[in-house]
């Protein structure tokens, strides 16, 4: 991980995560990412022909599920409110008939990134539940890096093919990261604009809204059946 990335993580922990809510929101995101990984491995098992490969992915999936739970347990323990897990919209990484080794290569690159990020985070955190959870998780993820690479070799891919696939996956993940950054910018712009709309428009409409909410009965037919008849 680059020096800039490390500085960013330390700043995150020491400044932004002073707010426990922000920290828990981030950990909930880690939980969701791990759970998403479990789901993709499940899809991989369903798509793999070789029972041995399925078995390896199955064992890998069990570890990832325990990681998701470890992050969930941190959230449960640190929050006074009931834990509500973050969910992501599930989407297959590759079309259904794609050979399973492509998914494994994708998982491998994800493990490399996760190990680096969680490792820096582990080092930056003060002692506590999250640091303890990360110690175990990072150790596991390091094992997964070797495991997924070995699995690709077992499936008959050559080192050069594997390296080429890793590069493609990194490009793709980079593009996905870029899109996420773009979404964050769009989100920030939307929040700013809609906040302006709120303060410009709401003073004229809030009384009408309050009157509307005082109505006890629905006074118009909201059950019209458009086109269904």
């Amino acid at each position: 991980m680059s020096v800039i990335e490390r500085i960013k993580v330390h700043a995150l922990v020491s400044i932004f995560w002073r707010s426990k809510a922000r920290m828990l929101s981030a950990v909930n995101g880690f939980q969701a990412t791990e759970a998403d990984g479990v789901w993709h491995l499940l899809r991989g098992i369903e798509g793999a022909d070789d029972p041995k490969v399925r078995a390896t992915l199955f064992e890998h999936m069990i570890e990832e599920e325990s990681h998701a739970e470890a992050f969930g347990q941190v959230c449960r323990a640190e929050s006074v409110q009931a834990f509500a897990p973050t969910f992501y919209e599930r989407e297959d990484i590759f079309p259904p008939d794609t050979p399973v080794w492509k998914l494994i290569a994708y998982v491998h690159v994800g493990e490399v990134d996760a190990t680096a990020r969680f490792g820096v985070l582990r080092d930056a955190l003060p002692p506590g539940r999250l640091k303890e959870a990360l110690k175990t998780i990072v150790a596991d993820e390091e094992g997964h890096i070797d495991l997924t690479h070995s699995l690709l070799l077992e499936l008959g891919a050559t080192e050069s093919e594997i390296r080429k696939t890793y590069r493609q996956v990194r490009l793709r993940r980079g593009w996905e990261g870029w899109l996420r950054s773009g979404k964050r910018v769009v989100n920030w712009v939307a929040v700013t604009l809609l906040s302006a709309v709120y303060f410009a428009m709401a003073p004229f409409f809030y009384r009408t809204a309050r009157a509307k909410l005082r109505q006890h009965k629905v006074v118009y037919d909201n059950n019209r059946i458009k086109g269904a008849r």
């Binding site: 199955f58 325990s66 919209e89 809204a209 309050r210 629905v218 909201n222 458009k226």
Partner: protein, 610 residues
Amino acid sequence: MKVLGISYGYHDASATLVIDGQIVAAMAEERLTRQKHDAHFPTYAIRHCLAAGGIGTQDLDKVVFHEDPHTKFTRVITASLAPFPHSRREFVNSAKSWLGNKLWALNTLSARLDLEPEKITYVGHHFSHAAQAFMGSGFERSAILIVDAVGDWSSTALFTGEWVDGRPEIERVTEIAFPHSLGLVYSAITAYLGFRPNDSEATTMALAAFGTPRFADVFREIIVAEPDGTYTVDQRYFNFANFYKGAYTDALVERLGPARDSGAPLGLDCLNPDATLSEEEQRFADIAASIQCVLEERILGLCSVLHTAAQTENLCLAGGVAFNCVANQRILDDSAFTSLYIPPDPGDGGTSVGTALYTAAQAGDLTPTGLCHSAYLGKSFDEGPVLEMIEHVNPAHFRQYMKAGVDAAQNKTWKVERFDREDGFTELCAAVADRLMQGQLVGWFQGNFEMGPRALGNRSLLARPDDLDAARRLSTLVKNRAPYRPYAFSVTDADALALLDIPADQVRFHRWMQLAVPVRAEAADTVRAALHVDHTTRPQVCFAEDNPRYHAILSAFGDRYGKSVLLNTSFNPSGYPLVASPEEALVMFARTDLDVLVLGDALITKVRPD
């Protein structure tokens, strides 16, 4: 006619495919994404529904969405403007979510299914619920009561339904508008009690049995009975229009006392009803009992209005509040209705069924009485690949990833025995029944998964119903389930009346675990581990024609035990939906203290190497 019903956007996304008046498949997206109450676009549910029907999207005649996006958008924006100037965050988040996505749900459907817009339509949310309840009931004429948190604009809706000249006519009697909502009040109290709103309302209901309703008068002031039989909610106590501030206000805390932190201990135990409670624990149980009591009173008020309007003894019930099995039974006991139908999934997950059936009926594809559908409408799986995979799985590799408390040092390996699908099934049931008699915990995985949240014998965890140790092990080492949440049981129709204190003509109402009923005093010891502290349970009465394989294992156990009854709970770890695939079932078997897993015709057990 081929109709696809769709629900998504708030919680419990689902899809239902109806071809020529028959439900081909109906499933919640959560089962296929492993995210409980998943609200996202039901990509995978749609995919599997279409696959089950052997068709593509271009073959569909209609796609019907379960709510009116424009009405709902108006309500959401109105609700976010009303608390001005304290609702900027609420407004921004609502506007962002709706303008960015939800308002264009019909366009999204058209684009993602690659269908011309003319094929996409919608029905109102509560109308979807009403259709879902009435269309499957088999009643020629019925009253229909829909109670949930909130739909397009209403929170409660009363309808009448009748088949006229082979077409269903569903007419509105009255609707109560948001923010007056029984469902939202119940969810807010669930949050107050430290549980997760929109998820753990059943926990509040379970807690109620430990308390006495000493706060009922407070709730009667909060949920005011109106002279016309409906109700209003005193909004000073809640933040329904501004929920980022929390579901309830300080005014509620002043009336009831401090709210419970989610991690605070709650030493209630269904299996140990004599445990001494602290003052605080008793207060929380009493608050749960009080909201439950007033909820039932207000629902009975609505039933009274509806009975007068509908002039029938039949009632169809749906909406999220219809998951409240205690209130459901109270309707049967204390209202003028004598016949009750609740669909297998009365919540939003079932609205896709209602929209699809109603649209098909409008085309003349349905008859009024031929519709009482099955609950086993989900996807089925081939267990073969998993059984091949098991040969290569080494449990020693993931021993350290067992659930907390499970004895990972037992060093067990797995043994797989396969039985012939037809001739060997009796032998398989006998082997499983023997193990159940010994107190072993069994994961039972068969065929298509269930529609709705209840395990009805295709994705079930089973145990001996009088074995308190097995039930405790199930709670702590398999399910991670709070001890104050009771288990229920499945019983064959032949033995139902010997255990349940219900009239014989009500046995058929209990097919899907929707009513809490008393157990006969003389039978209490037989099902001790599946009883609540008030000696009620939420039974499933299993008929052979509904689920022959499940009926067979119940009967095999009955041959040994004396009664064909088993403790039955959902096959899922806490926080997850019911398992869908055999791989998920195997993960749970691997990581927990489950002793036996039955995958179709295979028996998988944990054995010591020696």
